[in-house]
């Protein structure tokens, strides 16, 4: 659409700007401020320059949780994106069943995150939860509270349960937007199911998949509440992801300076990786 130049449009954007600025810029400035000072109490603080940044960038505890975080987000994307596409392809296309499956699939998205944690905390326990009980009865020695591997996989399974629906609903709406004529032409051209998926459906899912990948990356990278409720980050540090490390630092140990410095590094990582995803996916297709 060709837009007209009109600086008065700022008036329409102003409320958004003020509102978001209030909640974003002031706290961000506070964080920047903390990150370059050593704070003992409310009245005494010393300027320390890049000291905290040096410290957090060398902190092995943070390296570990950053690695865990990338491992987790990677696993989340590798499972949820293909599974979400698959679920969308299997969903009924019209009628009551379409509405019904849509509503049922959306349920996990609308459950408060700590309740998601609670549901899986209960569900996975061997004594009172169906999942833990079933696994143990099948002879699998499963205990997410004691075994780090079990805990990690439980958090992953919980995330798949929680968020695959988002990818599925995005893809479902993308699929519905493909005109029937394309399927007809493909049948005339004797395309196999796979060819239809590869050459007609997938290319047309591109824009919703970009949104899906970005949202899933950002949110899985910032995950906090669900594992906190489920495992409290344990056993050991096996499910302590970045957000939790950060809150422990800031609130638990009151290491405000390093926590702030680390917060900014964290924010930059999310920004950078999101930008990388976005540019690679959009450019991948326009290369030819």
């Amino acid at each position: 659409m060709n837009k007209t130049q009109n600086n008065k449009a700022w008036l329409l954007v102003l409320p958004v700007f003020l509102l978001v600025a209030f909640s974003a810029i002031i706290p961000l400035m506070t964080v920047v401020n903390y990150s370059v000072q050593d704070i003992f109490d409310q009245n005494s603080a010393y300027f320390v320059g890049a000291e905290w940044y040096r410290e957090v960038l060398l902190d092995p505890r943070l390296h570990d949780s950053l690695l865990r975080q990338f491992g987790f987000s990677g696993a989340v994307l590798l499972i949820e994106i293909p599974l979400g596409i698959l679920v969308a392809l299997m969903m009924p296309t019209r009628g009551v069943m379409a509405s019904l499956s849509l509503i049922l699939l959306a349920i996990p998205l609308l459950i408060p995150w700590n309740v998601v944690g609670t549901i899986w905390q209960i569900f996975g326990r061997a004594d009172i939860g169906l999942f833990g009980w079933a696994l143990n009865n099948l002879g699998v020695d499963y205990n997410y509270a004691a075994n780090p591997t079990d805990a990690w996989f439980t958090v992953l399974l919980m995330d798949v349960w929680h968020w695959t629906s988002l990818v599925a609903l995005l893809c479902y709406s993308g699929l519905r937007a493909i005109p029937e004529a394309f399927y007809q032409a493909a049948r005339i051209d004797r395309a196999s199911k796979w060819a239809i998926f590869r050459f007609i459906q997938l290319p047309r899912l591109k824009s919703v998949l970009i949104i899906g990948v970005l949202l899933r990356f950002m949110d899985s990278f910032m995950i906090y509440t669900e594992p906190f409720v489920l495992t409290g980050g344990g056993p050991g540090n096996s499910t302590t992801f970045l957000s939790q490390t950060l809150t422990q630092m800031a609130i638990g140990q009151f290491d405000l300076g390093p926590a702030a410095a680390f917060s900014l590094v964290y924010f930059l990582i999310v920004l950078l990786v999101s930008w990388l995803f976005f540019t690679t996916i959009t450019h991948l297709d326009n290369r030819k």
Partner: protein, 368 residues
């Protein structure tokens, strides 16, 4: 390649059709012979596209059978009917290049890449797409896209038939003519059955050897362009073919034939006999404007009339005649000049057609 036969075919889009008007296709039989170039002509909404989609299997008919070379294909999926179809609005796979688009139907059948390249280049040359082969299909103009769509139909030379659903709607007029010639050439070269849907009689008659005229869900006449013109089997064909269409006059039975507004048109004995055996009162006579001859003398059988209006079209003139309460059109030569004297219109017997319940009444066994 195949002969396509439709046997007591009917289709309704509603699940429980109540009356005639719920049917998009009304019970009909039809045969497209192998290797013919056919046009399916009719106004929009008459069921042309529905019929094509039933042949290709995109729709399954509510009643009746579709046979390819005598084999029933109702339950065979579109994919396996091996039919090519070009739609009215271009469908291109926009993430692929033009080359990949054209190669798609071949690659789906695992044709070797060497042959794919050969066929694609061949078709690209026919459709003048050579320079665009490397371009992304999404960046093409509407008529380029339609050429790609058509190309996908033409790359497969083993198809049972190619169906065209008003393929030239979005194409430039000068290119239209060229593409129609191309299609005709391809038809002659490969001897593939082609069915071409259109609402344009000119397009139909330049492309096809035989035209099926469709009206309200049925093929009302199937014949050469000349047959459609000279002997319309249905009042709709008379009205739809020709410009202006056939003059149709509501008439009543009379002693010697039929009459209207106090004029009597005598019928020959055979036709009168034929008419008397039918009960309906829905009787019409039709005559093409081209066949009305104007007389200045009250000769035998000529009816007195006035000229309301003259349109000079350059190659001929169209007269609007007032004959009693009827308004008729007549076509006369460019040099015709009425001189204000009383005029008489004459309906030559061999061109005067009799329709009962909209269908032509013919003398059985007679050849015209």
């Amino acid at each position: 390649m195949a002969e396509i036969q439709l046997r007591s075919l009917a289709h309704s889009y509603s699940k429980e059709p109540k009356g005639r008007e719920d049917y998009a296709i009304r019970r009909m039989n039809h045969i497209w012979e192998q290797g013919g170039a056919y046009a399916l002509l009719g106004p929009s909404g008459c069921g042309k596209s529905t019929l094509l989609n039933i042949i290709s299997g995109l729709l399954s008919p509510s009643e009746g059978e579709v046979l390819f070379d005598g084999v029933k294909v109702n339950d065979i999926d579109t994919r396996d009917r091996n039919i090519a179809q070009v739609f009215q609005f271009p469908v291109v796979y926009d993430s692929m290049s033009v080359f990949d688009n054209l190669a798609f139907p071949l690659r789906n059948q695992n044709v070797s890449e060497i042959k794919v390249r050969k066929k694609v280049n061949e078709v690209a040359e026919i459709l003048e797409l050579e320079d665009l082969l490397k371009r992304k299909a999404r960046n093409l103009t509407a008529d380029e896209k339609q050429k790609v769509s058509m190309g996908r139909g033409l790359v497969r030379d083993d198809v049972s038939a190619i169906l065209f659903d008003e393929p030239l709607t979005v194409i430039d007029p000068h290119l239209k003519w060229k593409l129609r010639r191309k299609l005709k050439q391809i038809h002659e070269q490969f001897n593939i059955t082609m069915v071409y849907v259109t609402h344009d009689q000119l397009e139909a008659s330049t492309f096809a050897d035989k035209i099926a005229v469709m009206y309200e869900g049925q093929v009302v006449q199937f014949g050469t362009p000349r047959e459609l013109f000279e002997k319309p089997a249905h009042t709709f064909v008379g009205y739809f073919i020709g410009s202006p269409g056939m003059n149709l006059i509501d008439v009543q039975r009379s002693e010697r034939g039929v009459c209207f507004d106090g004029f009597e048109l005598p019928l020959n004995e055979d036709l009168a006999k034929q008419l008397s055996s039918l009960e309906s009162d829905n009787i019409k006579v039709g005559i093409r404007p081209e066949f009305i001859c104007m007389q200045e003398q009250p000769v035998e059988g000529a009816l007195p009339c006035d000229i309301n209006h003259i349109e000079d079209l350059g190659t001929h003139k169209v007269l609007t005649l007032q004959l009693g309460n009827q308004v008729l059109k007549a076509i006369v030569g460019e040099d015709y000049e009425p001189d204000g004297l009383p005029l008489y219109a004459c309906f030559p017997e061999q061109w005067l057609k009799l329709y009962v319940d909209e269908y032509l009444v013919e003398v059985q066994g007679s050849e015209q």
